[in-house]
């Protein structure tokens, strides 16, 4: 589909970029310390941080991906919204305050706060990098894909443009500029998504949605047909011709499973142009379809012609509207509840797709399918749940990953260090839940609106929300497009800060123990950000031709499997040891990635093999990898109790008690959990040591003991 460049979109985006770059350079003058670079000095107001959370979290996958998925599959897309939001409950009730209390700059700090363990430093930094890169690639590819149609520049240039802007934002003022970019983007996204939803409700439904009178809705045509006694097909329209036997054609799809018959198509020719029709045997009609053809030389034809000819039109409408028990052609303005009840009682024309191999051409046929609104507003179109145990477990596994992954994403966790206190961390999470929850409610309206407003581009569901905005005028389209770019900027900047923290702070400073001054740490952070930015640009260009949206799923699966068990057990199980944490992170990460690589989806998408050959029956690993990670932590921790206790005693011996320390509880001096696992002999040894130190203090002529 050709969208045409919008000078409004370019102007608004340029203004936004100019503003955030000015802001980044403004804050750069104040960013002199590592605390300022990695944690914005810990001075961000909780309300600003809450909206910045929304800006950080609502990535292109959330905004464009979920709206597109709802537009294509209805309620099944909304399940992602529910899962993504529910994950914030874990963040609020379990993670927020302890993460702030224990950590300094990164997620690794918090995990390692009790231990000072090289194993934790390395494994947590590695998991941060893996998650960040998995998340970064689709964002960068998406940045190029967004810019190509809307600004009219090549994909690689779009990636380089976004990568350069983001690297500048991060490398100048680190977390401070990142926070305000995310705050602005989060705020704008919620304001204009609300505007778009209100405009949608005000317009209501029509059986021939014409985008406010701008684009006449394409009426799908049908051709009557009959089958002769010789088995040949007789067409009702003589201007079309058929070559060969229609039942021997590759378009007449063979049924793998008789219980699930495939749609049957026929290819006809008119005026030298190919057309593909759906055979509706019950009605004796051939129904018009849309189709794309990938030819051997790599070109793509849209309805048999190049894209520029505009033969591939936008679709999506209600074929029958039932409102308050009456059939109507147009509803007029609706309130949110009647918007949903009207869809529920009406019939929507969806466009599922089927693949056809026609000689050397790969053809994708999108055919009209009338679907009851009631079926669209309940699960079952995308997720074939309820049909087999594997499908059910796959679905449960996905919902588990969404629930557990959010609170363990490193670029989300580092946001807790930008506020002044644990109470502010808690409050900012509540603002985030309010903002993100409200946005996710809007996704259902925007997605269903795109599905029924005649705006869908079947070749790119991610454009559903911007194209819905375009049906209300070029200004709203420009704003939504600019926000889509800003969405990429906000999320990518957060990911680069998280990744640079893992490289410069966790690995260089802590793991390799490189001696650096505070300003040296800032420089290391900035150079890490530049290096990661360059890598992100390279990956964004390298993966241009691949569908990489599944990598976001990888990031969630690894976060849920590697990070969350470590965080939860550290907080709630006193026998957790450093080796247990490090082992669970590695096992969680490796098992999640391993299962994904052996999943049916990867066999089909990545390797081009039969998905039935995949050794693992699910696409989503969480249901196995999360319990496995927990189990690893428990087993390794129990096996390393003695070593852990010895380490704690050694640390205590190296840290003699001084007068100011004696007056406060022992907890900050010694890891109290270690006492529970110490043997009687070790405890006696420790008590004797404490006694002798206390005696020495009492007899010393120095400061009085409190």
């Amino acid at each position: 589909m050709v969208y045409g460049t919008s000078s409004w979109a370019i102007g608004i985006f340029a203004f936004f970029v100019a503003f955030v770059l000015w802001m980044a350079f403004y804050f750069a003058k104040r960013t002199k310390t590592s605390k300022g670079f990695y944690a914005a000095g810990g001075t961000i107001h909780w309300a600003v941080n809450g909206i910045a959370f929304a800006g950080d979290y609502l990535s292109a996958a959330s905004f464009l991906g979920i709206c597109g998925m709802i537009a294509m599959f209805g309620y099944d897309g909304f399940l992602y919204s529910i899962g993504y939001l529910a994950g914030w409950i874990v963040a609020l009730f379990v993670v927020a305050e302890p993460m702030k209390r224990m950590g300094k700059f990164t997620f690794t700090d918090a995990l390692d706060s009790k231990f000072n363990s090289k194993g934790i430093q390395f494994s947590a930094a590695l998991s941060t990098l893996v998650i960040s890169v998995c998340y970064l690639i689709p964002q960068m590819v998406g940045a190029g894909s967004l810019i190509t149609p809307l600004l009219g520049i090549p994909h690689y240039l779009g990636v380089v443009l976004v990568g350069t802007i983001v690297t500048l934002i991060v490398a100048t003022a680190g977390m401070t500029s990142t926070t305000y970019v995310q705050f602005l983007k989060g705020g704008l996204l919620i304001i204009f998504s609300t505007t778009l939803t209100i405009a949608l409700l005000s317009r209501g439904f029509s059986t021939a949605p014409d985008q406010g009178g701008k684009v006449p809705y394409h009426e799908f045509t049908s051709i009557g047909y009959s089958v002769g006694t010789d088995g040949a097909i007789n067409l009702g329209d003589a201007s079309y011709s058929l070559q060969g036997n229609w039942k021997d054609s590759p378009y007449y799809l063979k049924d793998d499973n008789p219980a699930k018959p495939k749609p049957k198509f026929v290819k006809l020719t008119k005026d030298g142009l190919d057309t593909v029709w759906l055979i509706d045997e019950d009605a004796g009609q051939l129904r018009e379809t849309l189709f794309t053809t990938k030819t051997r030389d790599g070109a793509t034809l849209y309805n048999g012609a190049p894209k520029s000819e505009g033969r591939f039109f936008q679709v999506g409408a209600l074929s029958e509207i039932v409102m308050d028990g009456q059939k109507v052609d147009r509803t007029g303005p609706l309130d949110p509840v009647s918007f949903l009840t009207t869809i529920q009682g009406s019939t929507v024309v969806r466009f599922p797709s089927e693949k056809v191999v026609d000689g050397e051409n790969q053809v994708t046929v999108y055919y009209p399918k009338a679907t009851a609104g009631a079926d669209l507003l309940r699960p079952g179109i995308k997720f074939k749940i309820g049909s087999s145990i594997e499908d059910n477990l796959n679905f449960i596994s996905l919902m588990l990953a969404l629930f557990c992954g959010t609170a363990a994403l490193p670029h989300i966790l580092i946001r807790y260090y930008t506020v002044p206190s644990p109470a502010c961390a808690r409050k900012s999470t509540i603002v985030a839940i309010a903002a993100i929850g409200f946005f996710y409610v809007l996704t259902l309206f925007m997605g269903l609106g795109a599905m029924t407003s005649g705006v869908l581009d079947l070749t790119d569901s991610n454009m559903s929300a911007p194209l819905l905005a375009k049906s209300f005028g070029v200004f709203l389209f420009a704003i939504i497009s600019a926000i889509a770019f800003a969405t990429v900027l906000g999320t990518v900047s957060g990911l680069i800060v998280a990744a640079s923290g893992a490289v410069a702070h966790d690995l260089m400073d802590r793991f390799f123990n490189m001696k650096m001054t505070d300003s040296g740490k800032v420089i290391a952070g900035k150079f890490s950000a530049i290096a990661i930015g360059i890598v992100a640009m390279f990956l964004g260009i390298a993966y241009q031709k691949m569908n990489v949206s599944y990598l976001v799923g990888w990031a969630f699966a690894v976060a849920a499997s590697a990070n969350l068990p470590a965080i939860m057990m550290l907080l709630f199980w006193k026998k957790t040891t450093s080796r247990g944490i490090a082992a669970s992170i590695i096992v969680g990460m490796v098992s999640a990635l391993g299962i994904i690589l052996l999943s049916p989806e990867m066999y089909k998408e990545l390797y081009g093999l039969d998905p039935k050959l995949a050794p693992f029956p699910f696409d989503n690993p969480a249901i196995v990898s999360v319990p496995l990670s927990f189990l690893t932590l428990v087993v390794v921790s129990l096996a390393t109790q003695a070593a852990h206790a010895r380490k704690v005693i050694i640390r205590a011996e190296r840290r003699p008690l001084t007068p100011p320390v004696v007056g406060i509880p022992l907890e900050p001096v010694l890891d109290h959990t270690a006492f529970e696992s110490m043997t009687r002999e070790e405890l006696v040894q420790l008590v004797l040591q404490l006694k002798s130190e206390l005696a020495a203090l009492k007899t010393s002529p120095g400061e009085p003991v409190n």
Partner: protein, 98 residues
């Protein structure tokens, strides 16, 4: 390098209370979320049943979002009250001692 908090603040006497409260609320939400996932996977047709004007799927989905926010607000209110009560009392006691 030190790896303690980026910002200093006083000891939080309410942290134990907040942790217990958080765990109870987390467990409550987990049950509601798990029930949603189980109904979806075991009996998806049940999700099509009407609950008032809308079906169970939409109503339950919106409820999960709204309940998350309501629990969050309650948690914050109770946590803030506990912080004021316990941390202020702690400060008063300290002043008496000295």
């Amino acid at each position: 390098m030190e790896h303690g908090p980026a910002t200093d603040w006083g000891e939080d006497k309410a942290s134990g209370y907040k942790q217990r409260l958080g765990m109870w609320m987390f467990a409550s939400y987990c049950i509601v979320y798990a029930a949603f996932v189980v109904i979806n996977s075991v009996n998806p047709k049940l999700m099509g049943k009407s609950v008032g004007n809308l079906n169970l799927a939409v109503t339950y989905g919106f409820a999960l979002i709204v309940v998350a926010l309501v629990l969050a607000v309650i948690y914050n209110a109770l946590s803030t009250r506990a912080e004021e009560r316990l941390n202020d009392a702690y400060t008063d006691d300290e002043e008496e001692v000295f």
